[in-house]
Symmetry: C2
Subunit: 321 residues, 2 copies
């Protein structure tokens, strides 16, 4: 599919995106995190990303609920309520004039309050959010030919160290695996846990299909909202789905493989560790799921229309600096 064109006029400074940090709206290129804040120097931050496609947020309430659960898990207390966060996100998309957008909400800790010990409990937490033009994990070429995946030798950070259902920026393992994938000529990596089971890739969940049964990992990965959507689509199509452990061996020998994420939707793969699936093309069931995902999106599935009128409200505010 083609990304819908931007049709809403934006102020020039907001053309590359709009951001909100701790009470202030600004062009995204001005948005930055102080080097002394825990959000940067301890990666003490959780985030969520919701997509806007053709003027509609997708499953905004689900993303907000997951974001709030992550915030609580990290003992953070931002000033904004869920309703206020929702209004901020609408306003950011409106300010940037985007019909399709990648919209990030982040909650991070600052620096310890003066005079108190260096404990995260002594740091206030605050929000940083931004809306930028739509991004996709898979390029147009990858959508056409199918993604080329490899199983990395790097193990995913285990839940015993950091809970992967609390969406986070601890990407050192994923980044390392991306260099390994590049060296092997693959587009992206998929990581195992220490038991040898499939977890996830850099920014996406994974599924495999064998004998028309659609399977995704039960543990060690983010509980993706696109993943949840795919499981709903399986029900709609009468496809059997399972959420359980998947060994590397089972994954490598699958009939089909696809990945999924907010930034890209359903993305079929055509190679795993050099093995060609479906004559080196996206598989038929993966493609049906992808097509249904987008046709339902177009029909307004779980959609919340962006309140573009909110742009005017911010644009008329005095400069927050």
């Amino acid at each position: 599919m083609q990304t819908p064109e931007k049709t809403i006029p934006a102020a020039p400074e907001y053309e590359s995106g709009a951001a909100y940090i701790d009470g202030a709206f600004m062009p995204v290129i001005q948005a930055a995190i102080p080097v002394l804040h825990g959000g940067y120097r301890r990666s003490d931050v959780t985030y969520d990303v919701v997509g806007v496609w053709d003027g509609n947020f997708f499953r905004l309430d689900d993303h907000i609920a997951r974001f709030r659960a992550s915030i609580r898990a990290l003992h953070m207390e931002p000033a904004e309520s869920d309703a206020e966060i929702i209004e901020i996100l609408h306003r950011l998309v409106a300010l940037a004039g985007l019909r399709s957008a990648y919209v990030s909400m982040e909650c991070l800790r600052g620096a310890p309050k003066p005079g108190l010990p260096r404990h995260p409990a002594n740091c206030r937490s605050y929000l940083s959010c931004h809306a930028i033009p739509w991004q996709s994990v898979a390029t147009h070429e990858m959508f056409e030919r199918g993604m080329h995946l490899m199983i990395s030798s790097v193990l995913r950070i285990p839940p015993e160290s950091f809970d992967p259902t609390v969406k986070n920026f601890h990407w050192g393992d994923l980044t390392r695996s991306m260099f390994e994938a590049k060296a092997a000529g693959a587009d992206y990596s998929v990581l195992l846990d220490s038991d040898g089971n499939i977890t996830e890739g850099p920014g996406f969940n994974v599924f495999c299909i064998r004998d028309s049964v659609v399977v995704c990992p039960a543990r060690g990965a983010l509980k993706g909202i696109t993943q949840k959507s795919v499981l709903e689509l399986c029900d709609e199509l009468g496809l059997k789905s399972e959420v359980r452990d998947i060994t590397a061996e089972e994954f490598r020998n699958a009939d089909e493989i696809f990945t999924c994420t907010t930034a890209g939707g359903v993305m079929p793969a055509s190679r795993i560790d050099g093995r060609r699936l479906n004559n080196d093309r996206p598989g038929p069931i993966s493609t049906r799921l992808k097509d249904l995902f987008w046709s339902k999106r177009t029909e307004g599935w779980h959609a919340s229309p962006v309140r573009y009128e909110l742009a005017a409200k911010v644009a008329s505010c005095p400069d927050p600096s």
Copy 2:
């Protein structure tokens, strides 16, 4: 020991510290990382911290060598040479007018170059450094009574996921363990690996002593430069030292325990999981090591005098913005 007084006059805007980001010097309160850069949103960054005490860097060359090794491990290529980084650090301490300082050097990735896929190899890397007043992991009270430690239920991120010898901001496990320590009434946590062996704590290495043998973990932790210094001090004092696996059980039953880091030096503990060591006070061998560490520092051990004359060179430059 008391922190030596600040005796060098600094421009008012530099009083809370000085920073350098990608070619520009600025007050530390202005230093920030763009929200779209990998250094923040992928924690795609490595760092090192060198201490300045009473006008002298400690083991500056060792820190620079470790920092450069970490940069290479992450496939980063900042513009600055080692000699240039050293000059930047001297200048930052001079600008801030600090006789004793916490000096951080960080190398991080930016955003992918326009038009290229979202791969870290498509991002340039750059330096962010700063000098701020001396910080200590242990407070004055903790130095007096000994640190109260607990062994956390959170496991340290394993080397199979991210190499702990590449100093990094993946602190999610450490942060979680600090909340657990606080709830248990302890000052700090110590984390195990999945084999049940001791690794390190939030920002420090650990040692234990049994029958006058000084032991630190062989794996799963940063190769600390203060740790290395302590091993040298053991030789000087004729104390036997060992670098090997330490079980939780051995650690809990040690005669003495101490922690060590750039930000604090040698820090004796007096409690572990509620058990009192040495009548609830810092142990005698730990204290000998701590005292020798500081007396040698005062005598100029591995010292590089700060080149305070470099402050003038920057102060007279035009505003980099």
